[in-house]
């Protein structure tokens, strides 16, 4: 696939309030850089993420969506991320089944102490999505012609 240098993908990152949002804050506190394409939306827990939000983001022009939550076993609400894990696994598999690039979606567990991991994850994700180019398939799933 041709790499478009000019292309700046839009990335939506959903972060749980207790671990990953704090991890994102920490990467800021430590001045660890990641591209400005990443915009974070705070949700109370990874289990709050409705698959519809992901689809909505893609429809509105997002090129990649990533969910960050507490590591399995560390959920502030004890079990939330376990449910999120199943939901996302199935959703990603379905998107893949429909032929949508599986690299556009990701789940990463980031603790409040992992500022470096958060930044590294975002850098890598932005790079991956940039290589993929603009997201067309979700908008185009229904043939417009």
């Amino acid at each position: 696939m041709q790499v478009n240098q000019e292309f700046k993908p839009t990335i939506v990152a959903f972060c749980c309030n207790w671990c990953s949002y704090a991890g994102a804050d920490l990467s800021g506190t430590n001045r660890l850089q990641y591209p400005a394409n990443v915009k974070i939306i705070r949700i109370p827990c990874s289990c709050r993420l409705n698959p519809m939000f992901i689809l909505r983001a893609f429809q509105r022009g997002a090129d990649g969506v990533i969910l960050c939550g507490c590591h399995p076993g560390d959920c502030h609400y004890t079990t939330g991320n376990y449910y999120a894990r199943r939901r996302m696994t199935l959703l990603f598999s379905m998107l893949d089944f429909l032929g949508i690039e599986r690299e556009r979606t990701r789940v990463e567990w980031v603790s409040a102490a992992e500022g470096a991991k958060f930044a590294a994850t975002m850098n890598e994700f932005v790079e991956t999505v940039t290589k993929l180019g603009e997201n067309k398939r979700l908008e185009d799933l229904r043939c417009k012609s």
């Binding site: 519809m52 376990y82 998107l95 690039e101």
Partner: protein, 324 residues
């Protein structure tokens, strides 16, 4: 079979076991059999049918019917009983108001398959066993049932009748089916091929909502697509999102609850193989979280409201993909 069922329906009504009977009624065309509620011997004798085109899943109608006063007798095929149990599990059907009669099924037929088999001028079809008698303009013809089965019946998962008060036609067994064959075929394709496939299929959707309306799992009091507050309501197509992903959202909503009855594809006027989306979820669930059949029992936790601490990570989707 039809006579047995009709006799049973009349008997249940007249013995006072129930005051209504849910069954199949002859429609405008012989292959267009519709679900109906019968209240008297006369109605039953006149219109009640059971034959190779009684594919409709009866269970969904019991949500409303079981909440009415009195008791309703329902005739349920094996597929229907899975939905029947699943809906009870979700507290949707009031079991005490239903008298369930399990009806063994030898597979329902597809009128298009009959036409494709080269039979012309079809007027009707009947028969119980492996051989059907097709009435045509040119006289009766004998047809092997298995050659004209509906897609979903060719890979029937189970002939077991679950949770019935009574059974007609004998209890059946769970079957070894290759129902995931087509899903596997799609999985083996490249993403581009899959995308092209689904684009071809889903682009034909006219958003008639037939799939949703017939689906026993899609029985919400108010569907999210009808709810202006949901953000995905069905409105004039200002943009194509609602339609694009209607089927994905629908499949996700019924994931873990879909019994794979195949009604969605049966009723689709555009012949979109919608059941493949549901089957993909079922296949994933079976592979990732252990075999699960919605409606097969009353107490197992559905896979999407359950978890194991060592469930695979979502990246398993990527890993599996790269193996292909």
């Amino acid at each position: 079979m039809q006579e047995l069922i009709k006799a049973k329906a009349v008997e249940l009504l007249e013995n006072g076991v129930c005051d209504r009977v849910l069954g199949w009624k002859a429609g405008e065309f012989f292959y267009d059999v519709t679900p109906a509620v019968f209240r008297s011997r006369e109605e039953i004798e006149k219109d009640f049918v059971f034959g190779p085109f009684c594919g409709a899943n009866m269970s969904k109608y019991l949500i409303a019917e079981s909440r009415k006063e009195g008791k309703i007798a329902a005739f349920l095929k094996p597929c229907d009983t899975y939905s029947f149990q699943q809906l009870q599990k979700e507290h949707r059907i009031r079991r005490e108001n239903v008298y369930a009669v399990g009806v063994q099924c030898e597979g329902m037929c597809d009128i298009d398959a009959m036409k494709a088999a080269g039979i012309k001028g079809i007027l009707g079809a009947d028969g119980d066993g492996g051989t059907l008698t097709v009435h045509t303009l040119y006289g009766d013809k004998s047809v092997e049932r298995k050659t004209v089965l509906a897609e979903r019946c060719k890979c029937c998962k189970s002939k077991k009748l679950l949770g019935c008060d009574e059974i007609i036609g004998g209890q059946g067994e769970e079957l070894e089916s290759n129902r995931f064959a087509q899903v596997e075929k799609l999985e083996a394709m490249t993403p581009d091929e899959r995308f092209a496939f689904w684009r071809g299929e889903l682009s034909r959707c006219i958003r008639c909502n037939a799939c949703r309306n017939v689906c026993p799992a899609c029985s919400c009091e108010k569907c999210v697509f009808d709810n202006p507050a949901s953000g995905v309501e069905n409105k004039a197509a200002a943009n194509s999102f609602e339609e694009n992903l209607f089927h994905v959202i629908r499949a996700f909503h019924v994931a873990g609850r879909c019994t794979d009855c195949g009604e969605c594809s049966r009723v689709c006027p555009q012949h979109i193989p919608l059941h493949l989306l549901n089957r993909k979820f079922i296949k994933d669930i079976n592979e990732l979280y252990g075999d699960y059949q919605a409606g097969a029992d009353m107490d197992t936790r559905p896979p999407l409201v359950n978890f194991q601490t060592d469930d695979p990570e979502p990246s398993v989707v990527h890993e599996r993909g790269s193996e292909q």
